[in-house]
Point group: C2
């Protein structure tokens, strides 16, 4: 992967980009003079000029005669329209994404430019520190990873997870936590605990195909609820479904969902938590992206407001440390005992070694600092991807503006067929995920999800430019 | 755990026991003279005499005047009767073991003498070598364990697994193998691939409660088939069920099943494989104990004879390397693609680190030698447990004589209630698993399973003696 990081001026330019994004230099604000850069950064005047020329060309800043350089942000302010609130049919449907997914698989493992990554790229995850933690497990931990572990998970790790939960405002005891093979196992255990085949599960629309697949493979039905690309699921529409006794449970990603990137405002979460208790409907909350907020504050969770245990909270280390660890957890509320029973026969206790490894990592490293860096990097990559889309995609492309996470959702002009685009792109060795994958209904044929999970490179810019061309051939 | 291994004479006595068990010194055969032991083993005459005195007291050998010492084996030859072939009702039943299992859980993690271990004790597993392998992964492998792994599993490990399959006579390509979180995940993925809620699964009677739990939690029914404690499930009875279209699939443990320890003769396996093809019934074969044979030859599997892909073969490293690794695999035959889809949403790819660890272990260590040692140890422990039961349990106790694996199944006189025995034993801090756990029907109230998975210690002998006393109080 090319990273464009060979040149001194580019490194500094990227740093300045980050400072613009994180608000150190606000829109319209003045940047350091060329002379200041020269002195403080120990670079030549000509390199300093190169830095600003580059940022200006990229549209991040503008030069004002005799005044210096200012944060332009004009391209990002010149935002594309948001996609509309979704409007799925108000009836439960059987899910059929397995077959569609098979069309994607063909390309896995091939040498392609993937724009579909479901987790942050390895390049921005703490591989070296995780390796050190693994080494420490081999060196200093006892052999208690040999026998079956505690079905609930390695206790020292559960203690650390309970500290993480404080970030969204709840004191969860380690005994309330069950460690799983990733959040996907957590979510399917929860589905099996709260519903049976034939039951209807309320979901956002669009929603991550992995969750649709879980519903499909468990023989359940999906009821898609209108969802706002900024504020998430429409709580009043969900309440309507509760009132009509249409759903047995909910499965939501309230924070920076895949693919919309929407984030329910905290008061909406509180309102929903109360509705769950009133209508006695369990809700599975998948919060794997909750820590990846671009603004300073971590959003709360629905679990934050759950007083009666109706929320089954799932999360994982996949999006913040390493997806390959396959470590997630569930706080099952009133369903915890049942979840634990299903876990026992689903895969017994989760392997202890990777749990010890993460425990060591968290003991030795400042995870808060790691998360801060990761968030800034994802924010930057998000901006870069948005700029690319704005540059190369048709003017009437609609585009989300997520406040966190790793997903961008794009609605192209209605004439565009993203499955056709997928085939055209695959011929160029570019992989995207077409919109229809994200629904149980025949929607989103003109939509696609892209990810900001990878460092922005020339290769990615080429891929976005190529997609833009392919889209234009369809118009 | 006391191991009695502090004394020189005991160590040598244990070695001789092993040589008796593995047939180096056959029943009735002559043992080395005291003088030979003295010279070849570099021990004193008095230690050599101590060795033989100990073995004689334990009943392994007998002294014949002026002739020396001979293998007695008398106690083991003086076998208790086998339990009868089981006779379950010929109707499918809903499974309800969850509730019963809850009664066991209370004691997990407490300081008790456990006679229920589901896998070989850590003391007889290669902890040191596994630790070295883990260290090597941290030191020498690349960081490819950070991102999501291949859904099928780490390819170099799958290559090694395919070599293991040669032990039971099939050339399985790595592409036919899917790595799972233990054999339990493999079995539940298979169940979900071949059957749906309400379907009936044919099983052995008695059968491992983990498998019953899987059937229960998937909302399926169990049809128990009469099973011989030596030769396993009765194939003609199973065929009858096929003919009457009573079952959608089978779930069997043909080699050294838990709890019976029975092993289907290979010709029966071949016959069954042909029936599966004729009646087009899929069979899930759980072969986790197949490598733990006490006689020199590894039994074949039903998969060995499966020409049309009706057998879904499951196994794991849990019983041969370390259960805490949670590494199993499935060879799904004609269901492989479907299994892979379900795996994707069940837990995504299995974590790569533990796969690399086992790969390294297998690359650096002679797994065949490790297995040989493990088998001998389990055989020895099995003999010791049998001797203990024969010494302390009532005369009319019926007892299996497994040719491999880690389970002993005991039918006590009909008046004994093993749930009551469980409570009595628990009060003495001894944990057993009562017979009713192993059936979907109200059977086996006078039965229990014990395990030879732990090194035989004074503590274990005390526990067996105590159980014997408690049983007698019930008579």
């Amino acid at each position: 992967m090319k990273k464009n990081s060979g040149f001194k001026y580019l490194k500094l330019a990227e740093k300045l980009q980050q400072l613009i994004i994180n608000g150190t230099y606000p829109t319209g604000g003045k940047l350091p003079s060329v002379r200041t850069l020269h002195q403080e950064q120990h670079i030549s005047i000509s390199t300093a000029l190169q830095v600003y020329a580059y940022l200006e060309k990229q549209g991040w800043i503008e030069a004002r005669e005799k005044s210096g350089y200012f944060v332009a942000y004009s391209r990002l302010q010149n935002r594309r329209a948001l996609p509309p609130v979704s409007n799925p049919a108000p009836t439960a449907a059987e899910v059929q994404v397995n077959e569609q997914l098979a069309r994607l698989k063909f390309y896995s493992g091939m040498d392609v430019v993937s724009l579909v990554g479901p987790a942050p790229d390895s390049a921005i995850l703490p591989a070296g520190k995780l390796r050190k933690a693994l080494s420490a497990v081999a060196r200093t931990y006892d052999d208690s990873y040999i026998p079956y572990g505690d079905i609930r998970g390695y206790e020292p790790l559960r203690q650390q997870i309970s500290r993480l939960c404080l970030n969204w405002g709840r004191a969860i005891s380690p005994a309330e936590i069950l460690v799983t093979n990733g959040a996907l196992e957590a979510a399917t255990l929860c589905l099996r605990a709260v519903a049976k085949p034939g039951d209807t599960i309320a979901i956002e629309s669009p929603t991550f195909f992995g969750l649709l697949l879980a519903i499909e493979n468990l023989g359940m039905k999906a009821l898609e609820i209108p969802t706002d690309p900024v504020t998430g699921i429409q709580v009043d529409k969900l309440e309507e479904a509760f009132r009509q006794k249409k759903v047995q449970a909910c499965l939501l990603v309230p924070n920076f969902s895949n693919p919309l990137g929407s984030c329910m405002p905290d008061p909406q979460k509180e309102k929903l938590a109360k509705l769950l208790a009133r209508y006695q409907v369990p809700l599975i909350e998948d919060d794997v992206y909750g820590d990846l907020h671009f603004s300073p504050d971590r959003p709360k969770t629905i679990k934050s407001y759950d007083l009666e245990g109706w929320v089954l909270y799932c999360s994982s280390f996949s999006k913040i440390l390493a997806p390959g660890l396959r470590l997630g957890w569930v706080i099952g509320g009133r369903y915890q005992e049942k979840i634990s029973q299903i876990k026992f026969m689903n895969s017994a206790a989760t392997n202890t070694i990777t749990q010890m490894m993460v425990h060591r990592f968290m003991e030795q490293q400042r995870i808060d600092l790691h998360l801060k860096n990761l968030r800034q990097t994802l924010n930057l990559q998000n901006m870069q991807m948005i700029k690319g889309i704005q540059e190369y995609f048709p003017k009437d492309t609609q585009l989300t503006q997520p406040g966190g996470g790793i997903s961008l959702w794009i609605a192209l002009p209605p004439k565009v067929d993203t499955w056709k685009l997928f085939e055209q792109a695959a011929a160029e060795k570019i992989i995207i995920t077409p919109g229809p994958l994200y629904s149980s209904q025949p929607h989103y044929a003109n939509c696609l999800r892209l990810t900001n999970a990878n460092p922005w490179t020339d290769e990615h810019e080429w891929a976005i430019a190529t997609l833009g061309k392919l889209i234009n051939t369809q118009l």
